[in-house]
Structure formats: C-alpha cells, structure tokens
C-alpha cells in the first residue's frame, strides 16, 4: 500500500518538475509581450500556490492512511464517534477563504491589466488592426495604412496593437500565445484585444475555438518588426499589392484554406464590421486614434460604443 501511495506522489512530483523545469520551452510560459507576461506570471504564481495546497493534502492523506490503517491496530480497536470541532472547521474554511481573497484580488488586478492597453507603450497611439475570421482563414485589415493581409500579420514591436476582432462565420478565438491570451471573434459584434510585442521576432497564432472541419489548419504567422521596418513594409505593400475588390473578397470568404496574400485597401470599406462593440477598453487615446482612421465604419461604431458599455 505504502509503495503505491508513493507512486502517486512520485508521479505528481515528476509532473511538477516537468512543468516547472520545462517552463522556458512552453509557449504560454515564454512570453514575448506585456500581456502574455502578466498571464505567465499569474500562471507561475498559481502553480506554486496550488502545488503547496496539493502537497498539504497529499501529506495529510498519507499520514492518515499510514497511521490509521487497520493492519496497524489491534483487532478489538473500536474507532470513536467524532463530531466536527469548531476550531478545525474554522481553519478548514478560513485558510481557503484567505487564499481565495488573495487570488481574487490578484485576479481583478490582472483582469484590468489584460483588458487595457499595456502601460509600457501607452504614450504612443496604438496601431488598430481588424482581424476577422472566415472559414478557415484570418483577414487582417490595417485601416490607417489602407492595406489588408490574409493569414499573416506584420506588427511593429514595442507598440500597442489594438485588435478589433469579428467573424464572418462561426465563433472563432484569436490567439497568439506568446503575445497574450485569446479573445472570441463573433459575427454580430466587434471585440477588442490589446497586445504588444516586446521584441522583434516571429510568433505563431491560431484560431483556438472549434469552428468546423478546417479549424486545425486555421493558423497564421505573426512577425514583429521595428517601427521603421514596419513602415517600409507598409510602403512596399501600398506600392506593389493589388487592390482588394468586392469580388475578390467574396472569393476569399469561400470555405477552405488559403496561403498568404496581400492587398491594398481593406474589405471594411465595402463590407463593414458589425456595429455592436463589446468590451473595448476606455483607454485615453481612444479619441485621438479615432481621428486618424479615415473610414466611416470605425467612427460609427464609436458612437454606439458607450451605449453598449452601459448595458453590460
């Protein structure tokens, strides 16, 4: 019996070490942006606290099982009738309550952090990118730059990116693990996700929410460049890419998988994003960058935004 219990304990320790030891290599625990860092720090903190709780429970259980097993006791031992004791029960409730209060406070703090633009880069206005999904692709529209890409994303590093997410079909979930957690893209409203990359480099993103047969391959590449390189890329696209037309866009929306492609103009001009806006942060720069965007849809949704806010 003892050996077997040790086995269970051993397995959990092995699992624990694997998890802690392999941290650097796990995407979620290898953040490359401020939002992902908040989440990775929370995760590590949770793993330590939860590990401690698990150890306490395991230790108590093993103690009880070893000490009070029948084979160690005389055959005529009669276990006593024990009711609860108020002190024991207060501790059993009190300690978890304290842990939950601590985690609750931390959770609220983190919520407001990941739901607003990262503070490091807040001086500069964010880059707005509309990321919309269709079966089973991602369309990235840069309204300020007047360009659009399919299945790949170039972003400037060290600058806040405000993703406006929506879907041309089923609910999808926009996820770049190393930059930050997911958010849903839905057909009837626009959701907002704030991300930023601390370093230049290539990251990997996907739709994490099951959306039909082609979901597994609904991935995209993210490249974070310096602001200068990004500007050069934009310029290059504006000069060389073909314009996106309504017919072309309809073609792109057909269910299936596509490689990368690049266009000038955005589909938002003829196929605007849904009106409802959900969960956008009240960042101070909002009005400023709103003026910079030159397409009417964006301004429209701003009007409805505050109304929608009050209803949630």
């Amino acid at each position: 019996m003892k050996v077997n219990l040790k086995g269970t304990l051993l397995a959990s320790i092995v699992f624990g070490t694997l998890l802690l030891g392999g941290c650097d290599s796990l995407l979620v625990l290898d953040p490359k942006g401020p939002q992902a860092e908040v989440q990775a720090n929370d995760t590590m903190m949770l793993i330590y606290i939860m590990g401690a709780i698990v150890l306490v429970v395991f230790a108590m259980l093993i103690f009880m099982l070893v000490k009070y097993r029948a084979s160690k006791q005389s055959p005529d031992y009669e276990p006593p009738h024990i009711h609860g004791h108020w002190l024991v029960e207060t501790i059993c409730i009190g300690v978890p309550v304290l842990i939950v209060i601590f985690l609750g406070v931390r959770s609220v703090e983190s919520n407001y952090l990941v739901e607003s633009a990262p503070e490091e880069y807040v001086e500069e206005e964010p880059l707005v990118i509309y990321a919309s999904s269709s079966d089973w692709k991602w369309h990235f529209s840069y309204p300020e730059q007047g360009i659009e890409t399919v299945n790949y994303l170039y972003i400037p590093a060290n600058r806040n990116i405000e993703f406006k997410l929506y879907s041309h079909g089923p609910i999808t979930s926009f996820w770049i693990p190393q930059l930050g957690g997911q958010k849903y893209a839905m057909a009837d409203m626009v959701t907002t996700l704030h991300l930023a990359a601390d370093v230049e480099g290539e990251f990997w993103g996907r739709n994490a929410n099951f959306a039909g047969a082609g979901t597994a391959e609904q991935t995209f590449d993210v490249t974070a460049l310096s602001q200068q390189e990004f500007d050069e890329w934009v310029e290059e696209v504006q000069e060389t890419a073909e314009p996106i037309t309504e017919e072309k866009f309809e073609e792109l929306l057909e269910p299936g998988h596509l490689g990368r492609s690049t266009y000038t103009g955005t589909h938002l001009e003829f196929s605007p994003a849904p009106e409802h806006n959900h969960g956008s942060s009240d960042d101070v720069n909002h009005d400023q960058h709103e003026e910079d965007t030159d397409h009417s849809e964006h301004e429209n949704h701003n009007d409805t935004e505050h109304e929608d806010h009050s209803s949630h």
């Binding site: 959990s12 998890l19 992902a36 099982l65 939950v100 996820w175 057909a187």
Partner: protein, 652 residues
C-alpha cells in the same frame, strides 16, 4: 436533397461501414437469443413495465455501462488520432463527429444514468421507503432517457453524427455550417432524455421530502440521500434552461427561426449563455452524488462516523447555489470586459471553499479510524489526491486573466477530465463495487478489483497529465491534427498509451464481473462489508417491498444500521401488515416509443409520422388521466412467508 439521401451517412468511411455491419449483426443476434429462449414475455412483464425502483435502477446501470463502452471507444479513437503528428486514421470531419459524440455520450448518456442508477437503487432504501413517490413516472423517466440515448446513437448509422462539439455553439451548429441532420439529433435526442431527467428530479425531491421513514429528520438523512436531494433540486432548476435552449436551437434548424442566426438580430452568445447556465450546474448534478457515495464508502471503511456531517451538508447546499452563479467562466474570452470577468472569477474561486471543506472532512473521517483498503475504499483513496489535483487546476482556470491562455486548450481538457474521472467515474465504480453484493448477492473479486483501480489510476495519470503540459505549450483542443514541429508528439503518444491502459482497466472490470459471477460464493449474508446505512438493513436479494416493517429511526442517527448492530437500537417496531404496492404498466414504454417516433421524424423533417408520434404521446397521457390504478396489496401472510424464507436461508 432527395428523400432517401438524408438517411445516408454524409461522410462514410470504412470504419463506419464495419460498425454498421457489427451493429446489425449484434442486434439480430440479440433478437435471436431473446426469441430462442422465449424471453420476450419475461422482458415485458419483469423489466419493460416494471415500476420497482431497484429494477429501473439496474436498467440505468446497464445503459451507463453500455454507453461507457461507446464513449470509451470514441476516446481511444481520439487519442490514437493524436498520438502521431499528421495522422490519417481519422479525417477532420470524423474527428469532429467522434469528439462531439464522446462528450455527449459520456456526460449525458453515461454519467447521468450512472448517478440516476444510484438515485433509484439507493434513495428509497436509505430513507426506508417502499418505492419512489411516483413509481410509474419513474418508469417513464427511464424509457424517455433510453429513447433519447438510442436516438442519439442512431445518428451514427442513419443520417450522420452531430459534429459541432458537445457544446454545439451557434452559428457553427446552425444549418449553414452544419448541414447534415447530425445536429438535429443532438437537439432532439438530448431534449427527450432531458425531459426524462427532469421528471426524475421531481420524483426524487418528492420522495426524499415526503417519504422518509418515521423519525428521519432532514439532518438524520444518510449523506448520499442529501447529495441526491440537492442534485435533484439542481436538476429541476437547471434542466428547464436546457429545454428552452434546445427547443430554440431545434427551431432555428428546422423552422428557420432567428434566435442564434447570423443577421436578423440573432445572437450566437445567447446559446453559449443558456447552454452553460444549464451546463455548469450539470457538472454539480454529477459530482454531488459522487461526493455522497464517497462519504458512505469512506466512513464505512474507516469504521467511523462521517466527520463534520453538518458542514458536509451545508457545503453541498452552498455549492448548489454557487453552481448557478459561475456559468460565464466557460467563456471569459467572449469580451464581456474586466468587470464581469472579475465577478465570475471570484464566484468560481469561491466554489473551491466548500469543496475544500469536503476534502478535509473526508480526511478527518480517516482520523482515528481503522482503515480497510477494500476496492471501494481504494477508489476513494485515489479519488482524494487526484480530485484535489483537478480542483486546483480549476482554480487556475478560474483566474480569468490567465484563463485567456488556458481557454480552448488541452489544459482545460486535462482539467475537466481530472475532476470528472476521479470524481464521478471513480465514485460510480466504487459505489458499484460497494453495492454489488446488495444488488446481485455476490461480491466482486477484491484482487481483480484493486488491480483495476491501480491500472485505472496509472492510465489516468499517463493519459491526462501530459495534456496540462501540451496545453500550456499551445495545443488547442478539438484539433484533429498537428505538425511535428509543434513538439507535441511525445506527450500525445504518452497520452494515447494512458488511454489504452484505461481501456485495459475497463476490460478488467468487465472480466471481474464475469469471473465473480462464476466463482464468488453466494452465501454472503446481507451485510458483507460491515456497513452502516439503513440500506444494509434489508435482506439480500432485496424483496420487492424493501422493508417488511417500515423502519422507525426516531432513536437512531444517520447511521441507523450501525446503531442497530452496535447499540442495539430497535428500528423495526410493530408487526408485519399487508403492504401496498404499485402496479406495473406498459403505457410509459408505449409513450416513450411515441416520443422516439416523434423525435426521429422531427430530425428528418417528416411531418406526418411526427404527428403520429405526437398523437401516440398525447393518447398515452389521456389514457393515464382516465385510468383507475390503485395498486395492489401483498397480503400479510405472503409477506410473512417471504420473511420466513429469508430467515431460513440465514440471510439476515
């Protein structure tokens, strides 16, 4: 589409054809065997029309084991598909169908009947009642559940399985994106089974509130009965939400309404909300009875009373209330903003508090006990650490900001399997082993039983621990393939091996039943475990009327049988009298067949047979309204004769 085309499998494969042939062969063999041994009459008289809670319970048990097999095969297929990168065993469409049916079958058609089996078999015995409050309704509940489950499984061979996930989020589940009739099956089969479950809920609340033995106050009820009461209260308040959601979903698909549609004002998020307003309480419907069973087992084999009875009860009540206040944590990432997420993050974490109280109470029950490691106890001893592991990862997921990274990943999959398998499945198997002698008059082999537990836990750890890691490494759930460059290969292979080992433990369980049936001694008496609850005060096998004399537990505690054995408290006072019993009836079965016809016809939009089915249902209800059924009496002499037989056998 051509009329007959709809009945074809839209995405056939070799595997499906093989299983089709097998299903047909097995069905023919089954019908053949029943006919050859002239069992139709026996089946009809003794089982199909039965209102005896014990027999209905056993039918639920059979369904649960059957569905465990089906869901398990699905699971093995899923794990095999993912054991290698770019595996071509299943294509995307089949993988989607398999994980959808795996989820629905395991939750609704395996776990639900398993706990309903325990409700049926145990509750009347634990409260000293002759049967449930509405025995015939109980029969109807079972057959509705049965027809729902069969209808759902029929999708495999007729028309195609649902493929939008067990959550079937709209608009993915709408006709535009799920064209086959699969999702119709989902909407309608679950609806029919759900009506059965709702009636079970009403039945057991009434039974527990109104039919307890004299002297059994609420706070003298055995812990499992408490858990059953609370679980059924949750059923009554949660299942109507599912009823409405499924009806709306079915109407969107069949009648082109706009509830969850894209455009015309439809709102996909409404489905997600309604689904989880039911879905989250649903997991507590499953886990609370599991807690109840572990409470019974742990106190029995610690040879001690359950520590902190009152706090056990109150923690369950608190859990049941919180169960309705956390549903949003299933979609923290829907963009409701920091404030809403914060509230639901805190309510979710708060559930850990009463759950923690229960874990500690179980451990304090071991304190100063005399612990015997029987098979049921071994399940319980494995349950505590494994469930704690699942519980703490639940707290991690409750941290909404961090959940943005765990959502839709294998981390989440690992978490809910980590609570449902050691929590619910272990409890069900532990309870099955524990109550097996009471049901069938012989014990399951302890050696094979204990080996099964060890094999199962080993398999479990190997299957699910790797998922926590791949989840944090970015492996999203419900994806049929991944490339080698992701580095998920080794851990997914380990996971598949673990799933295989779990399958071995299931085979060991079945083998144990067969082996024990052949070899176990039959003269085990009515109390082979030296147990404590009132349910053990009956004879084995239990007579149809349960207790010849209604027990009076005014002078006892919640462990009436223990008091009787050790303190000599008398619970069977008075003389044997004639006993009133309910009549068997075939009407619920016919009515359920009507429901099956109605459901099947709706799935394929065949309106005339649907109306015929509806008429059958309504006619059965009308018949019931006019029927005079006052039950019958078992005469005093017959009861006495039966009791004497038991005494002669020395079973008491």
């Amino acid at each position: 589409m051509e009329f007959f085309e709809r009945f074809m499998i839209p995405h056939p494969s070799f595997l499906i054809y093989v299983s089709m042939v097998l299903i047909v062969l097995v069905s023919i063999a089954l019908v053949g065997v029943i006919t050859y041994f002239k069992l139709w009459g026996y089946l009809w008289r003794e089982w199909i029309t039965t209102v005896d809670h014990k027999k209905i319970g056993i039918m639920y048990l059979l369904m649960a084991l059957l569905m465990l097999f089906r869901g398990g095969v699905d699971a093995i297929m899923l794990r095999y598909q993912l054991s290698m990168p770019e595996n071509t065993f299943l294509d995307a469409q089949h993988y989607n169908e398999v994980f959808t049916t795996h989820g629905v079958v395991m939750i609704l058609f395996m776990a639900m009947p398993f706990i309903t089996f325990f409700f049926n078999f145990l509750v009347p015995l634990q409260i000293g009642a002759r049967d449930v409050a509405f025995p015939r309704l109980n029969n109807l509940s079972f057959w509705l559940f049965f027809m729902g489950a069969m209808l759902f499984n029929l999708s495999f061979v007729v028309g195609g399985s649902p493929d939008a996930g067990w959550t079937s989020y709209f608009p993915l589940a709408d006709v535009e994106f799920s064209k086959s009739v699969g999702t119709n099956y989902y909407m309608i089969a679950i609806q029919i089974a759900g009506i059965g479950t709702l009636m079970t809920g009403i039945n057991f609340i009434t039974t527990i509130m109104k039919m307890r033995a004299p002297g059994m106050t609420l706070f003298k009820m055995p812990m499992f009965t408490w858990s059953a009461l609370i679980a059924n209260l949750i059923v009554v308040f949660a299942f109507p939400v599912l009823t409405v959601a499924l009806a709306m979903g079915a109407m969107d698909r069949l009648f082109d309404t706009q509830f969850f549609a894209i455009g015309n004002g439809g709102m996909d998020m409404l489905w997600a909300n309604l689904f989880w307003v039911w879905g989250h309480p649903e997991v507590y419907i499953l886990i609370l009875p599991a807690f109840g069973i572990f409470s019974e087992i742990i106190s029995t084999f610690s040879r001690r009373n359950l520590y902190g009875y009152n706090s056990m009860v109150w923690s369950m009540i608190v859990i049941s209330v919180f169960a309705f206040t956390v549903w949003t944590h299933h979609f923290f990432t829907m963009g409701q903003g920091a404030f809403t997420n914060s509230i639901f993050s805190i309510t979710t974490m708060a559930i850990a508090i009463p759950t923690g109280v229960k874990i500690f109470n179980w451990m304090f029950t071991l304190y100063k006990g005399k612990i015997e490691f029987t098979t049921p106890m071994l399940y319980a001893v494995h349950f505590i650490p494994l469930f704690t592991l699942g519980g703490v990862t639940g707290v991690m997921l409750a941290m909404s900001a961090a959940d943005y990274q765990y959502h839709n990943t294998m981390f989440l999959v690992a978490h809910f399997h980590n609570v449902i398998i050691p929590g619910v499945v272990y409890a069900m198997l532990a309870g099955l082993t524990f109550y097996w002698p009471k049901m069938f008059g012989f014990m399951l082999n302890e050696k094979i039983g204990k080996a099964t537990v060890w094999v199962m836990s080993t398999g479990f750890l190997l299957a699910f621990m790797p998922m926590y890691i791949t989840g944090l490494d970015g492996q999203a759930r419900r994806m049929y393939t991944y490339s080698e460059s992701t580095g998920f290969t080794t851990l997914n292979m380990v996971s598949f091996v673990g799933a295989g080992i779990m399958a071995v433990s299931f085979i060991m369980l079945v083998w144990n039943i067969w082996y024990s049936f052949k070899n176990s001694p039959r003269n085990i008496g009515s109390d082979p475990w030296n147990a404590r609850g009132l349910e053990w005060a009956t004879h084995t096998p239990i007579p149809a009327y349960n207790f010849a004399i209604t027990p009076d537990i005014t002078d006892s505690t919640s462990e009436a049988f223990w008091d009787m054995k050790h303190k000599g408290t008398e619970i069977f006072k008075g003389d044997i009298k004639k006993i009133h019993m309910p009549n068997y009836s075939g009407v619920p079965f016919i009515m359920s067949c009507g429901f099956f016809l109605l459901g099947f016809s709706l799935i394929f939009s065949m309106w005339i047979p649907a109306i015929v089915g509806l008429i059958v249902v309504l006619a059965c209800m009308a018949y019931r309204s006019f029927e005079k059924d006052h039950g019958y009496y078992i005469p005093e002499e017959e009861v006495k004769a039966t009791e004497k037989q038991y005494e002669k056998r020395g079973a008491k």
